[in-house]
Amino acid sequence: MLKYILKRLAFMIPMLIGITIICFAVMHLAPGSPTDLQTQMNPRASAELKERLRAMYDLDKPLYVQYGLWLKRLAVLDLGKSFAPDRRPVAKKIGERLPVTITLNILSLFLILVTAIPLGILSAVHQDSWFDMAVSVFVFVGFAVPTFWLALLLMIFFGVDLGWLPISGLRSLNHEYLPPGAAFWDLVKHLILPVGISAFGGLAGLSRYMRANMLEVIRQDYIMTARAKGLSEFRVIYKHALRNALLPVITILGLSIPGLIGGSVIFETIFAIPGMGQLFYMSVMARDYPTIMGILFIGAVLTLFGNLLADVAYAVADPRIRVT
């Protein structure tokens, strides 16, 4: 097992190099330069000043030299300094915001799991019943709903019309003065909409997948054996079938990570949540190369680790595919 993990970790290095090369190429081959934003508004910015700025950020060097410099800094976990006016280290900026994004995503993954799995099981067990039909309709609508629109509607309904839930940020203005219990409840109220909606986006796919898995497993011989030896239907479904139907879900969870991270841009922008997605949006708008590069890199690392974790979990859970 350890050998397998080490092998996979070693394999991640060329992947990461490929990823960073693509990021670098995409950003630097695009027309325009980050110094444009700083100079084009300033009529006194001379050509010479522009050149000095470019030299300061190493933008005048050939692409492969810039890439080499970036890699060299990465080796000591330095992602460079932000181009934004605050000039803070990118690693620090991301570090402050990453926990928010990860927490939100874990919460919504959890919500997806506890809703999608029962939905999938029930609709498979009661195939073609009205419940199954209702879930199918829900799945189709779920695939088609633009989640940011759903967010808007729920913000209007629960936030503006009913006034039950706050519609932006993670904390109320008076958060610091609240007693601990009320402060926690305040945080929960801020999280309900973003987490709920982000979970809704992934729900449809997983419950449909779960249903298909379950349908396949129920038709296997060993399920017939279980029934034949007189086990209760409950035991057959929830002890014998479920374990096997659940296995592929692990892989799907690993695969859904890039989607969740990508989605965080939209949610964090809509709900004004200070996470990595919002930082990314702001950096993109300001052409802050080092920060964009850093976030793309972190996003890819998270995805790779997610996939590795999923594969390892799969191997642990399923003795049949234990790889050496």
């Binding site: 992947m15 490929g18 088609a144 808007l152 841009v265 939209i266 995805t303």
Partner: protein
């Protein structure tokens, strides 16, 4: 795609519903100049943020423009983005998939590693980054959505090629002296069309969703050109006073995407019942 394709498609309720929705949208976008009750760009400062009424069925926006007219014109934009972006993805995906599946070996290794690397990106991040560096315009959006969305099709086409290239008809063609290009495009590719068609139909839906999200964030289709996504931006800015700016354009996106998804799944069911069930994400 055999002779029985159309009858089987016509018997499939999902495909018919989806097809009807998609057909209707085509009509809307073609007939937009005649169907739209107002000029979608006409600013009317007398009627800023008017709620839905008989004069303006879907209300007006912050500049007094008729929302229904803007939505009808927006239908064409969505279709265009969906089709061009998917077209780019299909061309890239099919070519790379065919090369990887047909030649195998070195080609396969390089192309599939590239697919793995591309799949590791949160695609939306990548799109956002590129769009911000290029000028946000409808053409750039189409290209970038296409260029970041070909991986699924490559995998499908490669898998089809891997199994098809071993079949007798390919050997027969080779014995008759057909070159690689002829075998790939004339003999194998037509047999892989089913899965490409299904993936492309679902891809149009995905591209429309991505475009609307980008326009919503303000880096997609730029105002004053109407798009469903950028009407929603106005909806967010006026969230506490103008619900109609948020409700209707989103409903249009929902119905459109639903239409393409139904059509795609319907085609899949009608053409190949074996593929029923799981879905490539």
């Amino acid at each position: 795609m055999g002779r029985e394709f159309w009858p089987r498609l016509a018997a499939n309720r999902m495909a018919v519903t989806g097809g009807a929705i998609v057909g209707l949208l085509f009509c809307f976008s073609l007939l937009a100049p005649w169907l739209a009750p107002y000029d979608p760009l006409a600013i009317n400062l007398q009627e800023i943020l008017a709620p839905p009424s008989w004069r303006h069925w879907c209300g007006t926006d912050q500049l007094g423009r008729d929302v229904l007219s803007r939505m009808i014109w927006g239908a064409g934009i969505s279709l265009k983005v969906g089709f061009v972006a998917t077209g780019i993805a299909v061309v890239i995906g099919t070519l790379l998939g065919a090369l990887a599946g047909y030649y195998g070996g070195w080609w396969d290794a390089v192309i599939m590693r590239l697919v793995d690397v591309m799949l590791c990106f949160p695609t939306f991040f990548l799109i956002l980054a590129v769009i911000a560096f290029l000028e946000p315009s409808i053409w750039n959006i189409m290209i970038i959505i296409g260029v970041t969305g070909w991986m699924g099709i490559t995998r499908l086409v490669r898998a089809d090629f891997l199994s098809l290239k071993e079949r007798e008809f390919v050997t027969a063609a080779r014995i008759m002296g057909a070159g690689d290009a002829r075998i790939i495009f004339r003999h194998i590719l037509p047999n892989a069309m089913t899965s490409i068609l299904v993936a492309a139909t679902l891809g149009v839906a995905g591209a429309i969703l991505t475009e609307s999200a980008l326009s919503f964030l303000g880096i997609g289709v730029q105002p004053p050109t109407p798009s469903w996504g950028n009407i929603l931006t106005a909806g967010k800015d006026n969230i506490d006073i103008a619900w109609w700016l948020s409700l209707y354009p989103g409903l249009a996106i929902l119905i459109t995407v639903l239409g393409y998804n139904l059509l795609g799944e319907g085609i899949r069911d009608a053409l190949d019942p074996r593929l029923r069930g799981g879905r490539q994400k």
